[in-house]
Symmetry: C2
Subunit: 374 residues, 2 copies
């Protein structure tokens, strides 16, 4: 089915809503844990559900290389392959190809690149991306975009954005050719150039999308540049469609973007940080590798009620990290995802109560005090 | 409390029993998953309980180096440090020191070795080993032994065994000096020399032990040599004490040893094999890395009802292994531990029914047919 979004409450530009998909409902603002290779690293699907995750993200680029779309399709799609029964959003592969830099060749047709897995040449056109995502049977698919490099001149950004818009139309055409299992989101590009962002949005709106994303951010721009783009763009985005800010980010970035009206987020930060021993707490990030924690009998965050904080000490987590124990990655990931998912719940509650501005001030003050390092 | 063993049923030399410890009861024959660094690799304590594990093993050698006995003791012992509420047996460190080879120096006092963690010189005497295990508060502790090298001449094996016996008395004396949290097992040594094994047993029996172990096996001897030692020794071991065969082993080794009257086992095989993609099935071991499984939609073992086999395909597990995903180690470990714990349950049932010999023949025939490779 086509994802259906309903705004349930708003507070200034911020909205709390529901997004109904083939595999169930998602409350927004929502954070999507990243499951690159058909697994949110270190977690079982049951653990993700217990943590309150309602939707996860899968990476088209990675899955088309390993295990390949055909093997996932033979299982009946990504849900059954990985044993996850709730919604999945798949990206288009555009951002990952962009990150390959010298190993890729972009043309009007699409992208050709050397596979980092086995060195063979791989083609990814807008049609290919839609076909892979149809095979994965994700609830939400993304149009293939040409992610604009940063910094980019106005003419570079325009050329890249206009190519993304032609690719968006081709992605759309291929995705809806037969009965699709979900819906396709378009992606606004245009670099840091606000007129180009608005032109991109205008072009996209000639087609019908169940949701729109803001792409081409988290590419090295400053926080100020990013907020300027969002402030210019968001008031023009259709109010009844879900808005997805791709690849962002830190808890404070999420709070700022929700305040401006963003509904969906994904980022590897909670899971990757966990594996590196960086743990989110009420007053900032701690590095569990620090020797100060070697005999610390307190939990990671005494205000936290996650499985890790209820049952294990900082000293134990530091020990597991030092010994490279898998359980350390698991317990850290549980804690960080609990933090992110709890953050989104708090944001939804504050929006529903009309108290987002005050909540956000308190949240940011506590994190600044603790010295957020992430 | 002192561990209390009761034979509940026997079938030939094999016994099914109960071992009651400070942290609860264990049904024997039992397999102890190995939790070297205060974690059975990749598992939570809750998962181990769900799998039916009733007792686990902790390694004194590893824990005294990382995080150090004092930090575990500050938590109130190993159970609370690692959040495991059932029984724990700790080894003495003797076998690990033995494995260090050139890095250790053995004297009558004990062993001095270079820490593989930070290079500092560490001392491990029988008294040290008992003290560390008292600090860990394990339910069952082991006397420090001098593990005899293989092969060894009669006089080498005798010298080593006699040192082990003097160390056993010192371990015992230190362990029982104050009120201990559990009980201490003695270890029979003597290499492959049967008269030495009997002499070792006779010496040990001058002291009071709640259980005895057979050590110095799994050091490179043939299966035939090992069985000869067990066949000579076991008829002389006290019938009302639990008997622990250290570090063994493969499923067929366990079946053979249970038949001869062994009650307790530990081995890294199910957990280590899991992380290397070697999975136990009814008809042998499969290597999930084999490309034959890349599009295999069947479970690891269609006769298995573990979490992994109920929810995931061989193709998915192979994919996780190829991508070095933590979830792969987790799912494989669940499957292999389920196999081992199920094996012990089947052995107990067969002993209670008086049908062990027939059961063992069927089990071994199925494994031979499938080509056991482990």
């Amino acid at each position: 089915m086509r994802p259906a979004f309903t705004v349930q409450a708003s507070d200034g530009a911020a909205r709390a809503g529901t997004l109904v998909t083939t595999h169930g409902m998602v409350e927004t603002p929502a954070f999507m844990p990243v499951g690159t290779y058909g697994t949110v690293k270190a977690m079982t699907p049951e653990e993700l559900e217990t943590l309150g995750a309602e939707i996860i993200l899968g990476n088209t680029f990675h899955l088309m290389l390993r295990p390949g779309a055909a093997i996932v399709a033979a299982h009946g799609g990504l849900h059954r392959f990985m044993h996850w029964r709730r919604p999945i959003l798949t990206d288009s592969g555009g951002y990952q190809v962009f990150s390959l830099k010298s190993l890729r060749r972009i043309s009007e047709e699409g992208v050709r690149f050397r596979s980092p897995v086995d060195g063979r040449e791989v083609r990814l056109t807008p049609e290919d991306s839609s076909e892979v995502q149809l095979a994965l049977r994700s609830d939400i698919a993304m149009a293939l975009d040409d992610c604009t490099a940063h910094p980019a001149t106005e003419s570079e950004a325009r050329e890249s954005m206009e190519r993304s818009m032609r690719w968006a139309a081709r992605s759309h055409s291929r995705y809806y050719r037969d009965e699709p299992p979900g819906g396709l989101f378009g992606i606004v590009q245009g670099g840091m150039h606000r007129p180009l962002r608005l032109a991109s949005l205008e072009t996209l709106l000639r087609l019908d999308w169940p949701g729109l994303a803001v792409g081409g951010l988290a590419v090295g721009e400053s926080e100020e540049e990013r907020l300027k783009v969002l402030e210019a763009l968001l008031p023009h985005m259709p109010p009844r469609q879900p808005r997805y800010l791709m690849g962002i980010g830190r808890p404070e970035d999420i709070v700022a973007a929700v305040t401006l009206g963003i509904d969906l987020f994904d980022c590897v930060m909670p899971t990757r940080h966990a594996r590196n021993g960086h743990l989110f707490t009420t007053d900032g990030v701690i590095n569990i590798r620090n020797s100060a924690y070697q005999d610390d009998l307190s939990p990671v965050d005494s205000a936290c009620d996650c499985y890790t904080c209820r049952n294990y000490t900082r000293a134990y987590l530091r020990h597991l990290d030092r010994c490279n124990e898998i359980l350390g990655s698991r317990l850290n990931t549980i804690h960080n995802l609990h933090y992110y998912i709890g953050l989104m719940r708090s944001l939804r509650t504050a929006i529903a109560a009309g108290s987002l501005a005050a909540w956000a001030r308190g949240f940011l003050a506590a994190r600044r005090q603790g010295g957020a390092v992430a």
